[in-house]
């Protein structure tokens, strides 16, 4: 090889490396800009400025909880920015996401187990598997329309949403069911279930596919039925992957505003959700609402709520990474 050629190749190599580096840092810079702008706008909503000033003046840090503006979490939304809080949307998000997980985990994991472990490689099953993949790419607002017709209104079979719903169960209980289910936590959970079901199915399928075939064969060769093999060998082995996928799906559900917007949840609500039939609102929707107001004070509130939402999302993702690492290296 000539010296000139060698120099050229070396230069090419350097050039490629630095291009990659620039591109990587570009996305990092954007993320940092985003975070810092949100934090600079929103931190005053979460931290008690007076208490912070006192800390600097006296030069000692008291109890950390004293620094937090707790009434941002404990107050309902209000016309006065200083008194407004995220109590209703925060509780609503927790209720809806819990409902959504309870509904979509068994359904999604069950579907994936059927498709991977039990279904024959027939044309119909291939068609189903392909369409689950297609559904994962459908914009979430489309699911909102399905949620509105199928869950909130129930195709009008049980009459109008807002007039005399049919009540099943004791009238004064928070857990009695009404038909149609209306703009309730249950309707929201079912709608979000549609959004994240394909994600759970696909990630569970991939986790199951990663289980070595030899394990299944050994189990079957010991006289286990297909069900025993799935329950005792395949599922426990795939569990870290399934949990990671499900937590990531959940963090998608937490951040969704569009489908719930279509479902028609209230903008302002001054009571806590108390059961699956309660009305509710969610954090992304509250943020959307505050950010759309003309007063800058509400923009600051929106930024504070975004910090809370991001903190929840990041801690869920961190939990997913931790679980994957923990369960993979664990000795039983």
């Amino acid at each position: 090889m000539t010296a000139a050629l060698r120099t050229r190749r070396l230069l090419q190599d350097r050039l490629f490396l630095s291009t990659c580096l620039v591109l990587t840092s570009l996305s990092l810079v954007v993320l940092c800009l985003l975070l810092s702008s949100v934090i600079s706008q929103g931190w005053r909503g979460l931290i008690d400025v007076e208490a912070l000033r006192a800390v600097f003046a006296e030069g000692r840090i008291g109890r950390i909880p004293d620094l937090v503006r707790w009434n941002f979490f404990s107050e309902y939304a209000s016309r006065k920015p200083l008194r407004a809080g995220i109590r209703a949307p925060l509780l609503g998000t927790i209720w809806v996401c819990a409902t959504c997980m309870l509904l979509s985990l068994p359904l999604g994991v069950g579907t994936a187990i059927y498709l991977e472990e039990f279904a024959a490689r027939s044309r119909l099953n291939r068609f189903i598997a392909l369409n689950v993949r297609n559904l994962a790419g459908v914009p979430s607002i489309v699911y909102g329309i399905i949620g509105l017709t199928a869950f909130v209104r129930m195709f009008g079979i049980f009459g109008d949403v807002d007039r005399d719903p049919i009540r099943i169960g004791p009238a004064d209980s928070d857990f009695s069911l009404t038909l149609p289910i209306g703009h309730s936590v249950l309707a929201g959970g079912l709608t979000l279930m549609l959004v994240i079901l394909p994600i759970i199915i696909i990630s569970t399928q991939e986790a199951l596919r990663a289980v070595p075939r030899g394990l299944r064969q050994s189990s079957l060769a010991l006289g286990a039925t297909l069900w025993q093999t799935t329950w005792k060998v395949t599922l426990p082995t795939a569990l870290p992957g399934i949990m990671t996928g499900s937590i990531l799906a959940l963090s998608r559900a937490i951040g969704e505003a569009a489908p719930l917007l279509v479902v028609g949840i209230p903008v302002f609500i001054a009571c806590d959700p108390e059961g699956p039939m309660s009305p509710f609102t969610v954090l992304p929707f509250q943020i959307f609402n505050w950010a759309g107001r003309p007063q800058p004070a509400f923009h600051a509130l929106a930024a504070s709520a975004i910090i809370v939402l991001l903190a929840a999302l990041l801690s869920f993702n961190a939990l997913a990474i931790y679980l994957r690492h923990r369960l993979q290296t664990r000795t039983p």
Partner: protein, 277 residues
């Protein structure tokens, strides 16, 4: 010989797959194949195999890759049922029970016919739970009965002394040879009559291989063992009888000594002397 005569019954009959060391008192047949053929879709993997596998002997199936020896093995415990396109014709019996019967209870069959695979594949559970996995599937046992069975199985697989102090540790922490012996213990624990071994040493180092081979020799007093191997020396060392498969046909079967020293077929001689395959 390429095929033995069909025998009238499962009782003791003089057969080629019997070691001369015990020839005067021929052992009863455990597994019998008569004109047995197997297909994957339209591909015929086995052509009219007729072979008797004697009880409490080690029978080695040898032959080049793709000759059908593993396919034959996997019909004995019906592992081929996992492959939708697999089908078979002819007769295959275990203690004169038809193995190909569609209604045959596969759970019971696989309890009677254990299998050890090429790659050691312990479950990602503790050593104890690996061995206890099979027994727990098949019957209710008290804790002490199960403890007992686990110890006996691990002793039988000559693994007990190495793991008795860490039964609750992960099986994945064992060495390759230990893992394979654990898989043998796991197969033994359900109380099978037959042990099928599909190249059980091909993923192991020479020392572990020697350990497994000694174990196979010891186990033949209790189990009928059928072992598929690519390693000619291994077949010669561990087996009483040898069957040579080539392109889906059984070329020759007989006592291992004779197959290796005085084969009747030219192809057998070429293969065992390493001229091909």
């Amino acid at each position: 010989m390429s095929a033995t005569e069909p025998k009238p019954g499962p009782a003791a009959t003089p057969k080629p797959a019997t070691s001369p060391r015990v020839a005067e008192d021929a052992p009863p047949v455990s597994i019998r194949a008569e004109a047995f053929s197997g297909w994957y879709g339209s591909f015929q993997a086995l052509h009219s195999i007729t072979l008797d596998i004697p009880r409490h002997r080690v029978t080695a199936l040898i032959g080049p890759s793709g000759c059908g020896k593993s396919t034959f093995l996997r019909w004995i415990n019906r592992m081929n049922d996992m492959i939708p396109s697999a089908r078979a014709a002819g007769t295959l019996t275990l203690d004169s029970e038809d193995l190909l019967d569609r209604g045959h209870d596969l759970v019971e069959l696989r309890r009677r016919v254990g299998m050890v695979f090429q790659k050691p594949n312990p479950f990602p559970k503790s050593i104890y739970d690996n061995v206890a996995f099979g027994p727990r599937l098949h019957r209710q046992m008290t804790r002490s009965e199960l403890d007992d069975l686990v110890e006996r199985s691990l002793r039988a697989a000559s693994l007990w002394d190495e793991v008795k102090d860490r039964l609750q540790a992960s099986a994945l922490g064992l060495s390759g040879g230990q893992q394979q012996r654990l898989c043998i213990a796991r197969a033994i624990a359900v109380g099978p009559e037959v042990l099928l071994m599909d190249e059980p040493c091909s993923a192991l180092d020479p020392r572990s291989t020697a350990g497994i081979e000694t174990l196979i020799r010891d186990l033949r007093t209790q189990f009928t063992i059928v072992i598929v191997t690519h390693n000619m020396q291994q077949a010669a060392r561990v087996s009483d009888g040898t069957a040579f498969f080539y392109e889906g046909r059984l070329v020759e079967s007989g006592p291992t000594d004779r197959i290796f020293t005085n084969p009747r077929e030219k192809r057998t001689e070429d293969y065992v002397t390493g001229r091909f395959g």
